[in-house]
Homo-oligomer: 230 residues x 2
DNA sequence: GCGCCGCTATATCGAATCGATATACTTGTG
DNA sequence: CACAAGTATATCGATTCGATATAGCGGCGC
C-alpha cells in the first residue's frame, strides 16, 4: 500500500525519502502519518525488487542527480558539493534520490488496478488519487466496487446501531461514522456521474481501443442501477 | 490501541475472542477490520500482563463460565457439556471466556486517559466511545485536544491543496478529505457544547469531587474560546 | 443418512507498519 | 558562537495485518 503511494509519486518526478514523506503528509491528507519506520524499509524493498534505482550524489553514476529538490533547499546541493570537494568524502550521509524504472512502472500499474478484494478507505483514496493512470473503464469499476462495499457496510451499521444498548458517547461515534459513510456514498455518486458523462457509454462498457497497458482482472461488472434503500 | 478496545468491552461483560471481534466490527464501525492475527495475540498479551483471566470450560476453575454468549449459540453451550460428559475430554478446542481483573480495570483507565500525544481518528473514536468511564473534565479535555489537532491539520490541508498542480482525481480526494475534517470539527463543537451544558462550568474547570480514579496528566488546558478562522 | 457448505471458534506465521530513537549536517536566532 | 530547529537517513522492538490451518457444528440437498 505504501509501495503504491511511493511509485505513484515517483511517476511524477524523482524524489528522496524525506520529500516523499512530506508529499504524502500534506499533499493527499490520506496517509497523513506514514513514519520513516515504514518509508525507508519500503524504499529499500522497492530498490531490491528493481522497481526503483537510487542515486547517491557521492556515487559514480552521473545519470540521476538532476532531480527536483522541491524544497527551497539550495543548502542540500551546496552540502553535496562541499562533501565531494573535501578530501576523504567517505563518512558523509547525504540525499538519496530515487527514480522509478520500467519494472517499477509495471508494478505501479498492477498495484493500481489489481487489488480486487476488500480495501479500506486509505487504500481506495490512494488508488483514486492516482486514477489518471487508469483506463476509463477500470476507473469506473474502481468507483463502483467501492460504492458497493460502502453500501454494504452502511447497511450493517444501520441495522446494528439502530437498536439500543449504546450509551450517548458510543452512539454518537457510531452515528457520526455512519454519516461519514453516507457522505462518502454521495461523493462517489457524483464521481461516477462525472465519469459516465466524460467517458460517454451507458452500461459499464469500454471504448474499443481502451484496454491499454493496464491489466484489470476481468471484472467490470456491468453496473446494476439499483437505487433503492439509499 | 486494541488493548483499550478489548478492555473496554470486557468492562461491560465477559466475552470470548470471536464475540469481541464481532462487537468491534459491527458495534462501533471504527476498528471495522481487526483481524484475528492481532486480536488473539492481544488477548494473550493481556492475559500475560494479568489484565484479564481466561476460563476454558474444560478447566478446573468453576468461577467464570456464566458469561453471556450474546449470539443465539445454545449450540456452543451444549457442545461444551457434551465434551465434558464424554470420557477423554482432552483434544477439544472450545470457547475461552475472558474476564477483566482489577489490574485490567486500572490499565483501562490509564489507556483511556493517558495517551496525550497525537492520536489518529481510530484511537480518538475509541476513546470517545468509552468516554462514560472518564471524569467530565477529562472528557472535555479529550474533545478539545482533538479539536485542536483537527484545526491544525485542516489548516495545513487548505494551505497546500489550495494551490494547483493536482489533477482532477487527486484534487477531489484532497477536497473530500478536507470536508470530512470540517464535518468532524462541527461534530466536535456540538459534543463540546453538550458537554459544557451538562457539566455546568464556564472555563474547563471541574467540580470539586471529580478527579476520581482517573488519572489525567495535568493538562486540562483552559479552553481558549477562539472562534476565528473556519 | 451422508457428503458438503457455511458458520463459529481459536491459533499461528511472515510481512508490513508504527513509534521511538540515533546520527549527522545546516540554518537561523538570540 | 552556542543552541535550537529543520533536513535527512536509518534501525529497533512491538504491534497489526492478511492469509492460512484446524476443528466442531448445523443445515441442505439429494
Amino acid at each position: 500500500m505504501l509501495d503504491l503511494a511511493i511509485l505513484g509519486l515517483l511517476e511524477e518526478r524523482d524524489l528522496h525519502g524525506y520529500e516523499i514523506r512530506r508529499q504524502l503528509r500534506s499533499g493527499l491528507g490520506l496517509l497523513a502519518n506514514v513514519s520513516f519506520g515504514s518509508l525507508y524499509p519500503a524504499l529499500a524493498r522497492l530498490e531490491r525488487a528493481g522497481a526503483v534505482v537510487a542515486a547517491e550524489p557521492g556515487g559514480d553514476d552521473g545519470a540521476v542527480r538532476r532531480a527536483v529538490p522541491a524544497t527551497g533547499s539550495l543548502s542540500g546541493e551546496r552540502a553535496v558539493l562541499r562533501s565531494r570537494r573535501s578530501a576523504g568524502s567517505r563518512s558523509r550521509r547525504s540525499k538519496k534520490v530515487y527514480r522509478i524504472t520500467d519494472a517499477g512502472r509495471q508494478m505501479f500499474a498492477d498495484l493500481l488496478a489489481g487489488g480486487s478484494s476488500a480495501e479500506d478507505a486509505r487504500s481506495f483514496g490512494l488508488r483514486l488519487a492516482f486514477a489518471r493512470h487508469l483506463a476509463p473503464g477500470a476507473r469506473l469499476s474502481l468507483l463502483e466496487r467501492r460504492r458497493a462495499q460502502l453500501r454494504e457496510s452502511l447497511g450493517e451499521m444501520r441495522s446494528v446501531s439502530g437498536g439500543a444498548e449504546l450509551d450517548v458517547y458510543a452512539r454518537s461515534v457510531a452515528e457520526h461514522a455512519a454519516e461519514g459513510v453516507e457522505r462518502d456514498l454521495e461523493w462517489l455518486d457524483r464521481l461516477i456521474a462525472a465519469e459516465m458523462a466524460a467517458g460517454g457509454m451507458a452500461a459499464g462498457g469500454m471504448a474499443p481501443g481502451e484496454m491499454v497497458a493496464v491489466k484489470h482482472g476481468s471484472e467490470v461488472v456491468g453496473r446494476r442501477t439499483e437505487k433503492g434503500s439509499r
